[in-house]
Symmetry: C2
Subunit: 446 residues, 2 copies
């Protein structure tokens, strides 16, 4: 009898794992249980679906259960795993449409239960018109709400990546948006000086940005009408909560699968958990941070895909390793692109590193070229050794792939001197002869 | 008395050297002799000046002699060094406007005489209307010719970077262009499969592209009228020669400064020549190629700037090193961006390396995003070890900075496995969740 692999959760990590397991071992029996109605969807596309850039949610689906079936992968939607028994090697699965429950055996298990959007326990948080945005169902419900109620005013709670993307999306749907952020800056993964132009961009595009404001209550009878923060009342016929994601570890904890210091499932480079034959990947799992050398919780689709491949390979008898992350991310906020990698200045100091930082202003193309735009590069490095610790870039073009160069530098463990040597491409339409990254590296190397 | 640094040639390498020498040693006396009428110009901008993107040639000048004077650097234009005496430590300098000659002492010398455009010794090559494009004077003369004669037909000889940029520039000036290339492909620094879409793009934009055609004669009385290649006659009221650049080593050879195997001045990592107190940098000098470990001749502005800084630092008593290049370059050809780094498949084989190559087709943004464009990534790697040897990227956006990621990977000596681990940035407007580079690395790692 072939071995049986059960994958719990069928989004980025789960379906990558299943697909890679299939390629690694054609004989393996592979079953994926996904509690939502969709597998293999690109959750990062939801804000663009809401904005109207993408007409149908189906466009965000990489592959359907029928397509996986042709690879010999059974991907069952509306199937929720309610219990994992790591001794008997079974899962208890409930069909959410029929309510039927069955107990299903496994030889290998990959836990990809993802993350859950934090829902602050505030008065009125269960009123209708208040949304999070994690699943296709969430996105469809918000879209339907916007179509049905045509809200004029909306509140976004939280100024992280999703909050900023949703501000742009709701504005595009004709909603006047108030963004309420608890901290004194938006985008807490970048330093305050880098976050400042982001807030300015939001304001310039008509978003009301309120920093150091704490939501106290959502008002309304059945539907949300107002949001109260710092004692002030803001009208809101729609609310999007984007205050963070925590790992969905309920099943793992019940099963005795160990969590790490971040509260996510602890995994090694092979994505093994503490339980034999059980791997974990994606937003439920920790990552090894290559700059700090410590576990971190940075739930992102790119990492989920990479970890999923590694878990799938290993669960199927192969041998793969996931090196870890450097914490790279990028977000578009109207016409502004903001990217970061490694440690921010603030994070470096929190790590107890004697960090220095420099910021340079340059242009995205040769200064004389039409279409050249300002770009700002900040480098964070260790004083003395000049080891690069991180970078942050803000501009209107050429940001996302420049941060990838810094990400590569972090993977390679470069100093600012090493970075200054980079043989970067140059032609007037694409960069100044000294690329902004090299200018920054030169300044940091003084 | 302060030491005296003479810099021979005041373009990218020379002026970088002078500026860096000044910052390194405030007491140094610094004189730069430049035979053209301009210093510190961005020669890579000339095609965009001809095209009309840049109104005045002065916009291509980074800093004027007056600006350098404020830093305590004497930059003398129209001054040609005609002889270097490395024993007496003097240069003979001729003022090209007055014809006066003087002999000038130096303690330290930096040779930055650049490259010269190859001018094939063909019948009729001295007819008026035939241009090369190395100096501001060249660019101004071509611009004046286009204004005065308003040519309807033009020929570009050579399908390298400048030839392709000039094809676009002349077409923008209303000239119907025939591009004549001796080899069976344009862009000889990329592989034929990568060059093919470039030729197609040229053709689609109305350029007549003739490969494996050898120019035999330029016809005309005083002005060029026709170009004959492979026995066929092509009308041409303007001709641009872009058949290559060779190092301008005449002065060096006369002075006993040693050349390397490429025919350019041999330098070490500190940019020292074989002669004590004499450094060289820029298009006159060789570079150390980090992938082959051998000297190479790859004259580019980026390298000239980096080498200039190193030579200037060291000549002024500091200590700097230039690691070398990986051969990164990018060019825009109408709406197509083409970039390369490291070794092409062809070059790798010429080096005797057992090279393999893969090519992937992907998109520049998440496939569902508006504006997403096709992009093609080719990776060249060593069979067995999977050491990355080079990369080539073609697309309509997001090409130049993606090649820089591959350049960083080459600097770091990565395998395709290492590259596949890169924590690259992702958001739907900037990349698919698997960046095309990572897709290529995964395919190459199979």
């Amino acid at each position: 009898m072939p071995e049986r692999l059960v994958v719990v959760g069928g989004v980025a990590a789960g379906m990558s794992a299943a697909a890679k397991a299939r390629r690694t071992n054609p004989d393996l029996e592979i079953v994926v249980y996904e509690k939502s109605g969709f597998v293999s969807y690109g959750a990062c596309g939801f804000p663009y679906f809401i904005k109207g850039d993408i007409a149908r949610i189906e466009e965000l689906i990489a592959r359907t259960p029928a397509q996986f079936a042709r690879q010999g992968i059974r991907a069952l939607t509306h199937h929720e795993v309610t219990h994992i028994d790591v001794t008997a090697r079974t899962v208890t699965v409930r069909d959410r449409r029929t309510g039927e429950t069955r107990v299903d055996p496994w030889d290998k298990l990959i836990l990809t239960t993802g993350g859950v959007a934090t829902r602050p326990s505030l008065p009125g948080v269960t009123l209708s018109g208040i949304f999070t945005l994690r699943t296709p169902e969430d996105a469809l419900a918000l879209d339907a709400w916007l179509k049905e109620h045509r809200p004029h005013r909306g509140v976004i709670v939280g100024g992280g990546y999703i909050g900023l993307e949703m501000a742009e999306a709701l504005m595009a749907r004709g909603v006047r948006v108030t963004l309420i952020e608890m901290l004194p800056q938006v985008l807490p993964t970048v330093d305050p000086d880098v976050a400042a132009p982001v807030a300015e961009t939001l304001t310039r595009h008509g978003v009301e940005v309120l920093l150091t404001h704490r939501v106290e209550v959502f008002e309304g009878k059945t539907r949300v009408r107002e949001v109260v923060a710092n004692g002030h009342t803001f009208p809101a016929e729609v609310v999007v909560l984007s205050v963070g994601v925590r790992p969905n570890v309920t099943l793992a904890q019940e099963a005795g699968i160990a969590l790490g210091p971040t509260g996510a499932v602890a995994v090694d480079a092979q994505m093994r958990t503490n339980v034999p034959h059980v791997w974990a990947a994606g937003d439920v799992a920790e990552v090894h941070h290559l700059v700090t050398g410590k576990p971190a919780y940075i739930p992102l689709g790119t990492t989920a895909n990479k970890q999923g491949r590694v878990a799938g390979t290993n669960a199927a008898g192969g041998n793969a390793r996931f090196a870890g992350v450097v914490g790279t991310a990028v977000v578009k906020v109207f016409d502004l692109h903001v990217a970061r990698t490694g440690l921010s200045e603030q994070q470096a100091r929190e790590e107890g590193i004697d960090a220095a930082a420099i910021t340079v202003q340059s242009t995205t193309r040769a200064h004389y070229m039409p279409g050249s735009r300002p770009i700002q590069v900040k480098l964070v490095y260790e004083r003395g050794t000049h080891r690069l610790l991180g970078g942050q870039i803000v501009g209107q073009e050429g940001v996302a792939k420049r941060i990838d160069v810094l990400a590569a530098a972090l993977h390679a463990g470069w100093t600012t001197y090493d970075l200054a040597q980079l043989d970067a491409s140059y032609a007037p339409p694409f960069a100044p002869v000294w690329d902004p990254i090299l200018v920054a590296a030169n300044v940091a190397s003084r």
